[in-house]
């Protein structure tokens, strides 16, 4: 198979045709709302790899041959930026989505008060930096066509007669036509081009496969693996280690490539503007580094193998093509050529689209708007949408023409070789302002403008100018001796800083000047009103809600005026759709109606999506100019709104506090009510309890007042009853007093260490008489022996006696027994007092410790208790930090358990004394 120039060029044309078809179909698909795969993270990632241009496709091998591993820094800078996406790229994309950003110039201008000056400056710098880069792609394409075809020496067919310049012109024209056809078919709401993106993604796959194919061919086809390549290189005397340790140049390249992947207009366009879903970035964060890793996997082996086998003097930049050809694999060479062609064309297409958007939005439209007098806008002014399209088409053609001119001017020099890094250095001047834009709220427009200009001047002097020295004697003289012989201003040795790598030298000085100027000027100047409005929208994009977007323009225009403006930019259909969704009438009949500020803000964002924020702002201001209020006034309104919001927030906090207090009060009230009710119940219980003995005392006393009819025997019995009843009454009152003392907290209640066993023994002795009277046997079970607890002896004894007496007096068994045992467990000192009576009925078990609760029905004749004893005992044990509970004991009846904490201290003498 012979690769004639005709064949190669026709293949390239055919390939472009294929891209065309692909872009057309994808556009049609996206338009029908069926984007599907086209808006997937995979396509997004592939399109980002427009970063890998022909400079990296062909040039990486050349760089590897000349300066070893340095080419990897070009890929590692972007890798670091992408794995850190969470902090920078994510914020850029969120801002771009919320502000309808169309380009990097629009981004900076919008943040710094929609400044037109800044937008123009950024656009111009971008054009200056990128033009050589486009020229480099043209050169790569023409050189590769010549390498693939002319090398065969078949100069017979007619295309072979074309020289390099004609070829480059042809390529430039072809690219311009393709880009115009697909990049500027319409002015989109959000400058997104699904067709172009699909074509770029396809090209990304082609260039990766082509490079991998050549790599696999070199490593495994003509060699025997990686080790073999290195061994052969060593044998041939090719250096395989780095010439010198990685140093400042490596760091500089790493830094520049990291800047480039953010600030290059084409990267900003693809990564930020064309992004349809923020979440795609999450995938791209690792997938794009993977892609670059795959791209660089075989670069070193190809370079080494080329240096080992190719004749001395052959161009290492073209090893990717010449290696397959030298072994007769022309099909592989053609595939590699298509890969290189892909990487060059994708760069040209995206870069020229991005630059044309910037040129038309920030230079052409503002000029047109300023020149058009307001008075005759009604009929004569041109349709802005058409103006935009036309200016974009012209700018694309102009960009390619500039690229071609640069190529033509520098033809025959090797000035193109380092142009990639020179371009990177130029766009890197945007980085400080970009970072300030999204992280530094008080950075000012003047600061950004001055910093970018200063950085650009230093870059142009130290890096851009010296790149011309090989074909311009004047430049060569300046580089060698400084301007007018001032040696301190030599471009590559500013202020005598000699011996540095020119790239490092330039990056150092330009960044130093750039950042210093940004800091100082920002600190020295203030923000204007619009900047103060825009800054928080960028810096706090994750904190702000849409409803807080300040209204920039107040609704003082009529709907028909606004509709006229919208129609001119967006076209009638989109303008009508916008007005209809917002419910704003736009017919002639509704001419005099005002519009809400919300709608104007929305309209401005929509317009900004087409013509950039600065132009949109100018346009709307002009439309509303008749009675527009000043920005300062606006700012005041915004401030007042902010204050109102803060105030309402404070009120909200206050009301929450009040709500909480009210809740607490409610709870306290409920508690009080309950206590009150308890008190009532207690009083009625007490009166009931007091009333019964009083009634009986009264009636017996009345009987005794009758002098006759009573025997002395009867008289004595009645008096005895009165006595018994008053004793009972006294006991009741004593217990009530006792209870009240306990509830209110006794004053002279002092807990001292006492031997609880002694107290229990005493209590049993006291109850002995009652037991004997009732014929109840008291059984003493297992005992704890000595056990010291902290208690008041009298009170503890009261508890024991009360419970033992209860067990004795309420025992209804035929052979009544009361069983008492005690032990020391982990819980503390435990006393169980149980009986073999019928026990506590289930109904009473729960409230046996409440006041006036008695387990027997009221009518029981033996009913003597008042129902306060257990309640008092329960309270006392509670005060001793123990518990009194009803459990199941050894005997069938009730079993009361008293648990008291054991005293841990040591004071045996005190115990003895107290006991």
């Amino acid at each position: 198979m012979i690769l004639s120039p005709d064949f190669v060029i026709l293949t390239a044309v055919g390939y472009v045709g294929l891209l065309f078809l692909l872009a057309y179909l994808s556009d049609a698909r996206a338009k029908s709302g069926n984007a599907g795969f086209l808006s997937s993270p995979a396509i997004y990632t592939l399109s980002i790899s427009v970063y890998c241009t022909s400079w990296t496709f062909y040039g990486a091998v050349g760089t590897a041959a000349r300066s070893g591993l340095e080419f990897m820094a070009i890929y590692m800078g972007p890798t670091l930026v992408f794995v850190g996406w969470w902090f920078l790229l994510r914020k850029l994309i969120r801002i771009a989505h919320s502000q309808h950003i169309t380009s990097i110039a629009d981004f900076l201008s919008s943040r710094f008060g929609k400044s037109s000056r800044l937008a123009v400056l950024v656009t111009l710098i971008a054009v200056v930096s990128i033009t050589p880069y486009i020229a480099l792609q043209l050169k790569a394409i023409t050189t590769s066509i010549q390498t693939v075809s002319v090398a065969k020496g078949t100069g017979a067919d007619h295309l072979a007669t074309l020289d390099e310049v004609t070829l480059a012109l042809g390529v430039a024209i072809g690219m311009a036509v393709f880009t115009i056809l697909f990049g500027t078919r319409n002015v989109d709401a959000r400058e997104q081009h699904p067709g172009v993106v699909a074509a770029i993604a396809f090209e990304a796959v082609v260039k990766l496969l082509a490079l991998l194919a050549v790599g696999v061919f070199v490593v495994f086809g003509v060699s025997d693996g990686f080790a073999d390549i290195y061994a052969r290189a060593v044998d041939a005397g090719v250096r395989i280690h780095e010439a010198e340790p990685f140093g400042s140049r490596w760091v500089a390249v790493l830094f520049l490539s990291a800047c480039a992947v953010i600030c290059l207009p084409r990267q900003f366009q693809i990564t930020v503007v064309e992004n349809s879903n923020e979440d795609h970035l999450r995938t791209a964060s690792w997938a794009f580094p993977c892609y670059m890793l795959a791209m660089s996997l075989f670069i070193l082996p190809i370079a080494l193998y080329g240096q080992t086998t190719m004749p001395p003097g052959s161009n290492p930049d073209m090893f990717v093509l010449t290696l397959p050809m030298s072994t007769g694999h022309d099909a592989l060479a053609l595939f590699a050529f298509i890969g290189g062609f892909s990487s060059a064309t994708s760069m040209i297409i995206v870069a020229s689209i991005a630059l044309s958007i910037m040129v038309s939005n920030h230079i052409v439209v503002p000029l047109a708007l300023r020149r058009a007098p307001r008075s005759d806008e009604a009929g004569e002014q041109r349709d802005i949408a058409r103006l935009l399209l036309r200016s974009r088409r012209i700018s694309i053609a102009l960009m390619l023409l500039l690229g071609f001119l640069y190529f033509w001017l520098t033809q025959g020099s090797d000035a193109l070789a380092p142009i990639g890094l020179i371009s990177f250095g130029g766009v890197a001047q945007f980085l400080p302002a970009m970072l300030a834009a999204i992280f530094w709220r008080t950075a000012t427009m003047k600061g950004a403008l001055a910093a970018i200009s200063a950085g650009f001047v230093v870059w142009a002097w130290t890096l851009f100018l010296p790149s011309f020295d090989t074909f311009s004697p004047v430049v060569a003289d300046v580089v060698a001796n400084g301007p007018w012989g001032i040696r301190a201003l030599r471009p590559e040795a500013l202020f005598g800083m000699e011996g540095m790598d020119p790239l490092v030298h330039s990056v150092f000085w330009s960044m130093l000047v750039n950042v210093s100027v940004l800091l100082c000027v920002s600190a020295a100047t203030g923000q204007n009103a619009l900047e103060r409005i825009q800054a928080p929208l960028f810096v706090d994009v994750f904190r702000r809600s849409a409803s807080l977007q300040p209204r920039i323009l107040r609704g003082s225009a009529t709907t028909s005026e606004l509709f006229f403006v919208a129609e001119r930019v967006l076209g009638w259909n989109r303008a009508r759709a916008l007005f209809d969704t917002a419910g704003v009438p736009h017919r002639q009949t509704a001419q005099q109606q005002g519009v809400s500020a919300d709608f104007i803000a929305r309209l401005e964002r929509e317009l900004a999506g087409s013509i950039g924020s600065a132009s949109a702002h100018i346009l709307l201001t002009k439309a509303i100019a008749g009675d527009a209020i000043s920005l300062e006034e606006m700012m005041q309104i915004a401030d007042e709104t902010q204050q109102a919001i803060e105030y309402s927030h404070a009120l909200e906090l206050k009301s929450q506090e009040l709500h909480f207090t009210a809740q607490q009060l409610k709870e306290a009230n409920a508690l009080l009510k309950e206590l009150h009710q308890q008190k009532d119940e207690f009083l009625s219980q007490v009166s009931h309890e007091v009333r019964t003995p009083m009634t009986s005392i009264r009636s017996f006393a009345e009987i005794l007042m009758e002098p006759e009819g009573l025997t002395p025997e009867q008289r004595r019995r009645f008096i005895s009853t009165i006595h018994n009843e008053s004793v009972r009454l006294t006991k009741l009152l004593d217990e009530i007093l006792d209870l009240s003392a306990l509830e209110q907290g006794e004053r002279d209640w002092e807990n001292v260490p006492v031997d609880a066993e002694d107290v229990l023994d005493q209590a049993m002795a006291v109850c002995e008489a009652l037991a004997r009277k009732r014929l109840v046997a008291i059984e003493s079970g297992a005992r704890a022996g000595n056990c010291i607890v902290l208690a008041d002896t009298g009170r503890l004894s009261q508890v024991f006696i009360n419970i033992i007496a209860n067990a004795i007096s309420h025992n209804d068994a035929r052979e009544p027994v009361v069983h008492i045992s005690s032990r020391v467990t982990q819980e503390g000192y435990v006393v169980d007092i149980s009986d073999n009576g019928s026990g506590i009925p289930p109904l009473f078990r729960k409230k046996i410790f409440d006041k006036f609760v008695r387990a027997e029905p009221d009518g029981t004749p033996d009913s003597q208790g008042l129902g306060l004893g257990l309640n008092i005992s329960h309270k006392i044990v509670g005060k001793l930090n123990g518990r009194l509970e009803l459990t199941a004991g050894a005997l069938p009846g009730a079993c009361f358990r008293i648990v008291l904490p054991v005293w841990q201290g040591v004071a045996p003498e005190a115990v003895r004394e107290n006991a």
Binding site: F82, G84, F246, R282, P289, L300, S545, E646
Partner: protein, 98 residues
């Protein structure tokens, strides 16, 4: 002291600062002092160690990015439906915006 595993784990699942780990170690490992550790050494495979080191760090950084991107807190909502609607209209700290 026994720690409470529940809340600690929960907190780790929500943390966003761990996104800094990968770029930080990427930068440190790719900067000269460490980068020059293996200068001039030849691995048993015949490939210079500095080449293996560079690709190794690259793979490591990619692996770190893959792991991070799988965590729940780094999923991002589709723009447009994202922040504005799901948040209350009043910012949490108006003082911070002043």
């Amino acid at each position: 002291m026994p720690s409470a595993p529940g809340p600690v784990k929960e907190e780790r699942a929500e943390r966003e600062d761990i996104a800094l780990l990968v770029p930080f170690f990427g930068v440190v490992l790719l900067m000269p002092p460490l980068l020059n550790l293996f200068e001039g050494l030849l691995s048993p495979l015949g490939v210079p160690v500095e080449v293996l080191y560079l690709f190794g760090v690259w793979l490591l950084v990619i692996a770190g990015a893959v792991l991070l991107s799988r965590r729940r807190q780094f999923r991002v909502l589709t723009p447009g439906t994202a922040v504005p609607e799901s948040r209350p209209a009043v910012p949490a700290d108006p003082a911070g915006d002043a």
